[in-house]
């Protein structure tokens, strides 16, 4: 290894436009990446980690300006002509980082061309070689395809192929796996690590996920509000974090809940589904109709006061299943019992007396609240629909808002005045306004930063303990599921792959897909959290 670092940032500050909530996106940041080293920039949203990447690449948004410090690539200021050749870049949204109306092969060959590869044939051969190098099946087909015709994981491999086309000295990867499913994420991380070690390039890896950090980083820089609050070798930072913020982040990682002795008598079921199937109609050919099975023959039982997790990757049918259970979709078949009452025949017109018992908290806290309704009114309206008088409803709304940790004054404010985590609290309050026996949390913590996620999970637990509702917890994240669920159903392509108590699923998975999912969870070694071990309450 040479002494000159591949990338060196000295005292870099980047200012935000006036009127922002702080003056600097990044303040006095210094870091260095040696050849063959992977440096992770870790932080929650708004920490300045992505802005740092943009500054290195010279693509800061027009409103942002680097006000001080220097960025040196192999000892010299970056020449933009080095981009693409000596510096490769990988983005969060692979499909969005490709031109939607140009074939993938042409885009790949364009990169080769602008960096001087002569000859159409030579470019085509090299392009196919690169597609093969990133382990894409059928390189010929991918070469011909348009970006929307390949999956997110495949698109990310294409982007990696472009980034690696000239064996760059430096790779910059900005949340490259965040938009991908967990199994795809594991594959992409493995591929990146492999290619990077083989070529000895430096890797600047930007992520919010400490699990991913544990898997890929050599060195870590933790950022908060634009400041580097801690840095060091990955083992040291994760096992013995020095800064309170890093400690908080590590502590916020979802931890598997303590194994609980199976109770001699399990409580009554509150929600039972038997052989639920849902199909969507699609058209192929001119008028031929086909049926696409979204949910196939799913059965599950949710018991009073317990939490049942539904785990699956995108397209597994978890959201469709939830819509079936909520009677928002006309099922193709299957029986559903809510609180012992058979609701199969109700279709989508479930009466209010039953709706009251089963409420939902949705994934995206930004669209879950009517932007033109005061949040107190939103909660009160829920109570009013179920027969409370105006005064009662207002009182209940105030109580609930306080119970989920919001002040009574927030009653008259509008949703845009709240952060994502606060909005999710409001949604929980609204769902609880009907005093339901069953609460469905549909990816309810997925859109939140890890520290907020931990708070909301804790809130769920606390409220469940106090109010005794049963929870159907839908998530793509096994770590989160392990933190809160008693039972787990693993879904894949609309079908149940495996079902059982959480400990059994995690410790002795029977199905190969479940095992693959578990293997794909970042930080299997437990460097950051204590995911595999069934240790004490987190």
């Amino acid at each position: 290894m040479s002494d000159t670092p591949i990338l060196r940032l000295s005292d870099v500050s980047i200012s935000l436009p006036t009127g922002s909530d702080r003056t600097h996106a990044v303040r006095n940041l210094s870091l260095r990446i040696a050849p063959g080293q992977c440096l992770c920039l870790v932080g929650e949203s708004g920490s300045g980690k992505s802005v740092t990447g943009q500054a290195v690449l010279g693509v800061l948004p027009p409103a942002l300006r680097q006000t001080s410090g220097s960025i040196a690539f192999r000892g010299a200021p970056l020449d933009t002509r080095q981009r693409g050749r000596e510096i490769g870049t990988i983005f969060q949204e692979p499909t969005a980082s490709l031109d939607p109306i140009m074939r993938i092969g042409d885009q790949l060959e364009e990169v080769l061309m602008v960096h001087g590869v002569r000859g159409r044939r030579a470019r085509r051969a090299r392009a196919l070689e690169l597609l093969d190098a990133v382990k894409l099946p059928e390189p010929e087909r991918i070469h011909r395809a348009y970006p929307h015709e390949v999956s997110g994981g495949q698109a990310q491999r294409v982007v990696i192929a472009m980034a690696l086309a000239f064996d760059p000295m430096l790779l910059i990867a900005d949340e490259p796996t965040t938009a991908l499913d967990v199994t795809t994420q594991a594959e992409i991380l493995r591929l990146l690590r492999e290619l990077q070690t083989a070529r000895g390039s430096g890797l600047l890896f930007i992520t919010h996920d400490l699990g991913v950090v544990a898997d890929i980083a050599d060195h870590v820089v933790v950022m908060q509000h634009g400041n580097a609050v801690e840095e060091g070798p990955v083992e040291r930072v994760l096992s013995a974090p020095a800064h309170p913020y890093t400690r908080k982040l590590v502590a916020a990682l979802p931890r598997r809940r303590a194994a609980q002795p199976p109770p001699s008598l399990r409580p009554d079921p509150v929600l039972e589904a038997e052989g639920v199937s849902l199909t969507y109609r699609g058209t192929t050919g001119l008028f031929r109709r086909t049926e696409i099975a979204a949910v196939q023959d799913v059965s599950l039982t949710l018991r009073r006061g317990e939490t049942h997790g539904i785990v699956g990757e995108s397209g597994s049918g978890k959201s469709s299943l939830v819509r079936c259970l909520l009677h928002l979709e006309q099922r193709k078949s299957g029986r559903i019992r809510i609180m012992g009452q058979d609701t199969t025949d109700w279709g989508t017109g479930l009466p209010r007396s039953i709706r009251q018992r089963l409420q939902i908290v949705l994934q995206d806290p930004y669209t879950a609240l009517n932007p033109r309704q005061r949040i107190g009114d939103a909660v009160a309206e829920a109570a009013r629909i179920h027969g409370a008088s105006a005064d009662q409803a207002r009182d209940r709304a105030r109580t609930l808002l306080e119970r989920v940790g919001l002040s009574a004054q927030s009653y008259t404010r509008f949703p845009h005045e709240f952060s994502g985590g606060q909005r999710q609290r409001i949604c929980i309050a609204r769902a609880l306004a009907t005093e339901p026996e069953i609460l469905i949390a549909d990816e309810a913590v997925s859109a939140l930063d890890v520290s907020i996620q931990a708070q909301i999970l804790a809130l769920f637990r606390e409220l469940q303990e106090r109010l005794g509702f049963a929870m159907l917890f839908v998530t793509h994240d096994l770590r989160v599921a392990s933190a809160i669920c008693d039972d787990i159903t693993v879904l894949r392509a609309g079908q149940v792959v495996e079902q059982g108590p959480m400990d059994q699923i995690f410790d002795a998975p029977r199905d190969p897909y479940t095992r693959a999912l578990l293997d794909a969870v970042p930080d299997k070694a437990g460097r950051a959290g204590n995911f595999p071990a069934a240790s004490g309450e987190g």
């Binding site: 209010r352 709706r355 309206e381 609204r430």
Partner: protein, 276 residues
């Protein structure tokens, strides 16, 4: 608020005041002819005429005629735009709410309208039936209904997929409550912005029809109709063209500018793309 928007608002206020009270500015009635004073040039421009904006071919005072014309144009603009907005938005809302065949039928209607510019439809219908002010108003009102229908349908469909509507359904809220309390308020901005786009189009259609002599009929008058009468005397009585034309243009312009500003304010995704 940018200066042009302020100026536009000031002009709009002045226009409305002129339409409402303009006839009091002049001692002459808008149908009062004066054969001795035919085609007098505007006194304001130093012709020595006692008519500040001049007279037309029958010696009628242009101030009075413009005031009445502004009244009619404003009435047709506001009422007409409301007709289109209500019909179009209602159809768009129904299409999104009912889906299926209802939606297909409504959207086919939109396609048909897109294949026939409204002025052609209006001319065809006006030739078929005896012209009446109500028929004219209704035809002009149809301007842009298809735009409302498309926009409101799209906005409603998108609102329906928002979490807050799902949450309401799960709560067991009635369809009426969901549409009135949760979807309509969120679609309303779309309607409001489209209103400001559509109103100039409505004004231009009415004035164009009247200019062609097929809209507002004498003895009633409108800004377009005054221009129609002045057309053959363009070179020797320019004021008959210029004053009503400027009023129409400035009216349409002010509404557009206010509308653009409103859109920037209401649609955060367009913020930062200031017009002028």
């Amino acid at each position: 608020m940018p200066l042009v928007v302020k100026l536009s608002l000031i002009f709009l206020v002045l226009f409305v005041l002129f339409a409402l009270f303009g006839t009091y500015l002049t001692p002459y009635g808008y149908r009062q002819t004066a054969l001795m004073h035919r085609l007098e040039a505007p006194g304001l421009f130093g012709s020595g005429s006692e008519y500040p904006l001049g007279t037309d071919a029958r010696g009628r005072d242009l101030v009075a005629r413009l005031a009445v014309g502004a009244q009619v144009t404003l009435l047709v603009a506001v009422a007409g735009t409301l007709i289109g907005a209500v019909i179009g938005s209602a159809l768009g809302l129904i299409a999104a709410a009912r889906r299926g065949y209802t939606e297909a039928a409504i959207m086919t209607g939109v396609d048909v309208q897109l294949s026939l510019p409204i002025i052609i439809v209006a001319l065809f219908v006006l030739a078929m039936f005896d012209s009446s002010f109500m028929l004219l108003l209704f035809l002009i009102g149809l301007t842009g209904w298809e735009a409302y229908a498309r926009l409101v349908r799209a906005a409603t469909l998108s609102a329906r997929n928002q979490g807050y509507v799902t949450a309401q359904r799960v709560l067991g809220a009635s369809a009426l409550r969901i549409y009135l309390r949760h979807i309509l308020p969120n679609v309303f901005n779309v309607i409001l912005v489209q209103f400001t786009v559509n109103m100039p189009l409505t004004i231009l259609l009415e004035t164009a029809l009247s200019f062609l002599g097929l809209g507002v009929q004498p003895p009633m008058t409108s800004l377009g109709q005054i221009m129609s009468e002045g057309r053959d005397r363009l070179l020797n009585a320019w004021w008959l063209t210029l004053f009503p034309g400027m009023l129409i243009f400035l009216l349409a312009l002010s509404i557009s500018l206010v509308g653009d500003w409103l859109r920037d304010r209401l649609d955060p995704t367009l913020r930062g793309r200031r017009m002028t």
